[in-house]
């Protein structure tokens, strides 16, 4: 599975051929400004085994990842949300470790894609 998919880019190009670059850049800016904090909250909540918070924040971050085509992170967060909601603490270890790798990769990929879009 890829870190980022391009369907949302193609969709915005279709909806607004003139302004899609500005729209997508704005969506990425909002994501980069607001979602890193949620990732940190999940990791902090894991340290104290606050499964309710992990489930709640993962749910929100999952939705945000869906808006920017961050499919790998979204899939992981879906799993994390489900495991946390069902109090499967031991099973959370591995997907959280994967998220620690994948989420920073996602952020970098989004930042790079935004630069590419704006430069085009």
């Amino acid at each position: 599975m890829r870190i980022l998919t391009a369907e949302h880019l193609e969709a915005w190009q279709q909806i607004d051929p003139e302004n899609w670059r500005g729209i997508v850049s704005e969506i990425y800016d909002v994501f980069l400004a607001h979602e890193l904090r949620k990732f940190a909250e999940i990791m902090e909540a894991w340290k104290i085994r606050d499964l309710e918070k992990i489930s709640r924040v993962a749910h929100s971050l999952k939705s945000s990842c869906g808006n920017v085509g961050a499919e790998k992170a979204k899939t992981l967060l879906h799993e994390i949300e489900h495991l946390a909601r069902h109090a499967r603490s031991d099973d959370l270890r591995l997907p959280l470790r994967r998220l620690e790798e994948v989420f920073p990769q996602t952020v970098l990929a989004l930042a790079a894609l935004k630069e590419k879009i704006q430069a085009a």
């Binding site: 369907e7 949302h8 969709a11 915005w12 279709q14 909806i15 607004d16 302004n19 729209i23 704005e26 969506i27 909002v30 994501f31 400004a33 607001h34 979602e35 749910h59 929100s60 999952k62 939705s63 945000s64 869906g66 808006n67 920017v68 979204k74």
Partner: protein
Amino acid sequence: MIEQALTEPGTWRPKILIVEDNPTDVIGPFVLTKQLGLNVALAFNGEQALELLRTTEFDIMILDWGLPGMSGLQLLDRAETARRRGVLKVIVHSGSDLDLTSFARGERYCIVDFWRKPFSVLDMARRMKWLREIRGGA
């Protein structure tokens, strides 16, 4: 922001309130509603939404069911005046499947549709266009 307003004479342009705490979830619907020339306001929590509902007669409220603090259901309970006028139609959106018990309250709260998050951009655009067909009023 997109300012491509529609200019067809006689086209109804509903006043829409989007209530959503997640900025990344807001921006797509906000851009699309503006692009379609619809009148749109944003609230990031229940208190802001209540304040707006007190001062403005909205036709449609797109309501995140899982708001932190005051939930979507609590907001609907407290937005009595807006509901009593019979104008406001509510679209609930959520990243979770709502249980039928919650949704069965639809008639009381004028819930006209349920949107499951996340949806694709094209699906969102199609739903936004549909908003123009919802008429407010009794």
